[in-house]
């Protein structure tokens, strides 16, 4: 069983509230949900929509065809009617205009009713939120509920689920790692983590600081880490470009630093509120000079929690740069899950700290006393030490889950992807004859990738970018060029039904 519900309207009309109320009610009823948010860079007006996908089995994507349209304005009907399935339903805003500001709550009521969710469960959820726990909102929900009758008959299931976005998950991962400082300048779609951690900073004995820009953020991050704080900085592509020189300073000074990089569509300002896996190249290579780093990319919130912890651990252990690479689709979509993350790795700071002894870290090459040297011998040994360090990092990463295999493990049809495409790929292959190799660690890279490619008959690359950046990286590391590529670069994530059709063309 799977349903897709599109909720559309103008920015400011409360689309997210509808999907939040209904999805929370649904997971309490034991249904798996996935919520995709599509919005332009407009604060009030324009056209926003969410697609809430519902299933009795785990899902992590939405589909292109929808069963129900909740239209909070006329435009939603005009734009999305074409996506509606033959037996689909449109729930119109017009009958609820009397509800005023609670129009969205009334529509939530109507949606709950048509899905067959008990009214009690819906009202409980509305009471749960202090903002909607008032007589008018509850009344609106009841009016909405009465206007429809049960069509989809979603009976209560016995699943224990929770909902989380990628941003919330990165914040949890950082808190699990006992983060002391998060330093970031606002930039969509990385801002979610800034907001999450800022809201939780007091209770978690940490601090969130918003400096004058990303250049300040990265240099402050290095300063704070130097004097003993567990530190993370966060940004999106444009801000990450500004941080590049600071990353290079990390490379030579060996001050541990974790960077959260949430991609959006470039180049330039691009499509600032849409999705693209376009920043793998800069995550791997940004910063002048040659120095080690770790780059890993989670495909859902659970992995976001785990990878944030692993990368903060590796940064401290190896005094290195680690980059958590994600994108708008993982950061801002809401996933349901029944699983719990792995136990976090404990991060110990064992290096010398300034209040205990004299420590000198430098952007210049250093001699045994931590002082500047331009000696060729020191240049050689310091460069080789950086190389040696990367070898140690590689060894340590081997004990982590650098790749994951999904689907039919004996299939000869191998799909390779990373990050946010995971959800659509998993839902697209379902039980069909495909094996999906998800690459979590992009630097260093697992040897398993080459082994799996050698075993496969048919290799298909799936990425949300123009040039197949993972494909190029794999060719660089393995010498194998992947010819069959499904690339999407319109800023919109893959939908599982369309991806399924595209995959079948290649088999």
């Amino acid at each position: 069983m799977r349903l897709n519900i599109l909720i559309g309207g103008k920015a400011g009309q409360g689309i997210n509230k509808v999907s939040t109320i209904v999805s929370k009610t649904l997971i309490n009823q034991g249904y798996f949900t996935f919520n995709y948010r599509d919005y332009p860079s407009i604060i009030r007006g324009g056209h926003n929509f969410n697609v809430l996908s519902v299933s009795d089995k785990p899902i992590s994507s939405h589909e292109s065809k929808v069963d129900i349209i909740i239209a909070i304005d006329e435009l939603t009907k005009q734009i999305h009617e074409i996506q509606l399935k033959k037996d689909g339903v449109i729930i119109d805003y017009k009958p609820f205009l009397n509800e005023g500001r609670n129009l969205n709550i009334a529509l939530s009521g109507a949606l709950a009713s048509i899905l067959g969710i008990p009214e009690k469960a819906l009202l409980a959820e509305i009471k749960n939120n202090p903002k909607t726990n008032n007589a008018q909102s509850l009344q609106a929900a009841k009016v909405g509920y009465k206007s429809q009758s049960d069509k989809y008959n979603l009976k209560k299931l016995n699943n224990n689920l929770s909902i989380m976005s990628g941003s919330q998950a990165v914040a949890i991962g950082a808190i699990n790692s006992k983060i002391d400082l998060y330093i970031a300048y606002p930039m969509t779609p990385a801002t979610g983590v800034l907001h999450e951690l800022a809201a939780k900073q007091i209770e978690n004995k940490m601090m969130v600081f918003q400096p004058e820009g990303e250049i300040a953020a990265v240099n402050m991050g290095l300063g704070a880490s130097f004097s003993g704080a567990r530190t993370m900085v966060g940004t999106s592509g444009g801000g990450f470009d500004l941080m590049a020189e600071g990353l290079s300073l990390q490379g030579i000074s060996e001050i541990p630093l974790t960077v959260y990089l949430a991609s959006r569509v470039g180049p330039g300002t691009g499509l600032p509120t849409y999705n693209m896996q376009g920043d793998l190249d800069i995550a791997l290579r940004s910063g002048h000079g040659e120095f080690p780093r770790v780059v890993a990319s989670p495909g859902d919130p659970l992995e976001s929690i785990e990878i944030t912890n692993e990368l903060m651990f590796l940064a401290e252990k190896f005094k290195t740069l680690s980059i958590i690479l994600t994108d708008k689709h993982v950061a801002e979509s809401e996933f349901s899950t029944s699983q719990k993350p792995k136990k976090p790795l404990k991060i110990n700071i064992t290096r010398s700290l300034p209040h205990k002894t004299i420590v000198k870290s430098s952007s210049y090459d250093q001699d045994d006393y931590g002082l500047t040297t331009e000696d060729a011998m020191y240049a050689t040994i310091n460069a080789e030490a950086r190389l040696e360090k990367y070898e140690e990092i590689k060894k340590a990463c081997n004990s982590l889950e650098m790749t994951k295999l999904h689907g039919k493990t004996n299939s000869k049809n191998l799909i390779i992807g990373w990050g946010s495409t995971k959800g659509a790929i998993l839902d697209a292959i379902g039980g069909e004859d495909f094996k999906f190799l998800q690459v979590l660690y992009l630097k260093p890279m697992s040897k398993i990738i080459k082994q799996e490619m050698q075993k496969a008959k048919n290799i298909i690359l799936v990425e949300s970018n123009l040039t197949g950046q993972l494909g190029r990286l794999i060719r660089e590391k393995t010498g194998i060029s992947i010819k069959k590529r499904i690339l999407k670069y319109d800023g919109r994530p893959f939908t599982s039904d369309e991806l399924n059709k595209q995959l079948k063309k290649y088999v």
Binding site: D180, I183, T231, S363
Partner: protein, 305 residues
Amino acid sequence: MSNKNKLRKVASRKPRFPGLKYKTKDKPGVSLRTIQNSSWCPGCPDHMILESSRRAILSLIEQGHKKENFAMSAGVGCHGKIFDYLNISGIYGLHGRTIPTAIGIKLGNPNLNVLAFAGDGDTYSEGMAHFIHACRFNPDITLIVHDNRSFSLTTGQATPTSQLGFKTKAEPLGEFNQPINPIHLALSAGASFVARCNARDIVHTQKIIEQAIKHEGFSFVEILQDCIVFNLDINNEDDKMYKLLDKKRTMKQALKYSQEFNYNNEKNKIPLGIFYQKHRNSLNEEWPILNKLAKSKKTWGDLKK
């Protein structure tokens, strides 16, 4: 050292990874001075700024501060070499970024006395945004600007405090942009401690730096220094300089004094000393958790999480 010996030394040396453990030691007989020989030009007033800073820190250590609790950051330029000569902890950072680096060091451990050494190109050109925001954020750090009014480590181009008409290899027609007035700017941006010194006056500079470090909040010390190689026209202006009286001033009075000298090579007097000092809640005082760490003399690592 012969090449053979060097090779032996290198072979026996453990790689830096996992790193950040260096031997540090003072030059025999000179506290807080590293063993590295100076590579500043002979006669450069940077030597005097080093000596003033060294004496200021020594004096504070005598007053009970711990040597290990001093930390510095430096940008890149002639001034930055002070990192290699002053034997305290710190980060030799990037050009223009000494201020955010220093703020970071302070956030990472609110109990440290943090000094940010910077040049005029560093602060007023590449890092101007950081300077203005530091005045606004009021972190408890001390910014010491070595203002020799030229980019000297890159062979003498004009900086934002170079005088009109300054001819350089990059500005062969002469600088035609009005210099900025950092004192006036800092006051306008809300700095809680603003002072100017003459690098050659070691005793006065030491005293001001000491007061700047003791000031709770952002303290800005602009040090005028000659560049004896590239910007000769601004050298030897000591006879124009005079010391402001040691007293509290209102913002209005401070702004008036700040405008006496406009950084052009004119006949005006150049006031030195503390223009303005007024306590305003620093970052440490504003943030509950930093306040807690500073009051209890604890570090982030001491917190049970």
